[in-house]
Symmetry: C2
Subunit: 151 residues, 2 copies
């Protein structure tokens, strides 16, 4: 069955959904943020078949999330680096981490925590409004058409 | 081809990925936050087949994201309400919105913006660390095993 595509919908959530629809996207991106750059590193950490990984990395390069850069000549070898767009994806992963930690394990029993490596303090991602720094009040939230003047 | 399942992996991102893997999850949840409660409302707004929608709503109820509540007897009619878990999913949608707005439209050309309905101010979701209110510095981020004492 062909998946419904959301990538031309006019809603930012719908478009991001399309990118996430392939379950491997967040997992591969998680490893990229964790310091994976080379094909063998991804493969070792994920235990995924070469064919699947080739396809996933190609998709992320095509989407502009990773770039493939030659780091050695003769034989030429490549590594995968986060682009600006790829780095911006971090917030989605951070929000997924927090939701997963709070709701997809027995309460308080997620086996891993995010920490600041310098201070060892636990990091708990949360979404706020950039301008005010405050949590977003969903009951007051609306969606408005962007006025042409502001684009 | 059967999708790889991530819902028993020990990583919060992997588990959230599994929930997101079905592309309709964020779309249906978006409508729930937008005030949809009844089957016909979801169907009208999404233009999706009844069969698909039945299946998606059932999945979200089974996942504890929505609850199905009778709001009328004779004939009995149901509506779908966000649970606490479903409400917590908002942060993922907010992070997806921001990423989509910034990176999945021509810069500055997303046709819609989030607003605070009271002040009409634009809302731009961003992820921070809950304790400090500061952006998370990915270069200093680490993952640590939770110490048994803290669970």
């Amino acid at each position: 069955m062909r998946r419904t595509r959301f990538d031309r919908w006019p809603c930012p959530i719908a478009r991001a959904t399309d990118l996430l629809g392939d379950g491997w996207t967040p997992i591969v991106m998680r490893e990229a943020f964790g310091g994976c750059h080379r094909f063998e590193q991804f493969q070792q950490r994920l235990g995924v078949s070469r064919a699947t990984l080739v396809q996933r990395l190609r998709k992320l390069v095509a989407a502009g999330m990773l770039e493939k850069i030659a780091y050695q000549e003769g034989p030429r070898r490549y590594e995968y680096r986060l682009t600006d767009k790829g780095r911006a994806f971090f917030d989605i992963l951070a929000a997924m981490w927090r939701f997963g930690e709070d709701w997809l394990f027995r309460r308080g029993h997620a086996p891993v925590v995010l920490i600041d490596r310098d201070s060892q303090a636990e990091i708990r991602p949360v979404v706020v409004d950039e301008a005010t720094g405050r949590r977003i009040d969903v009951r007051r939230l609306g969606v408005s058409l962007r006025s042409p003047a502001s684009t």
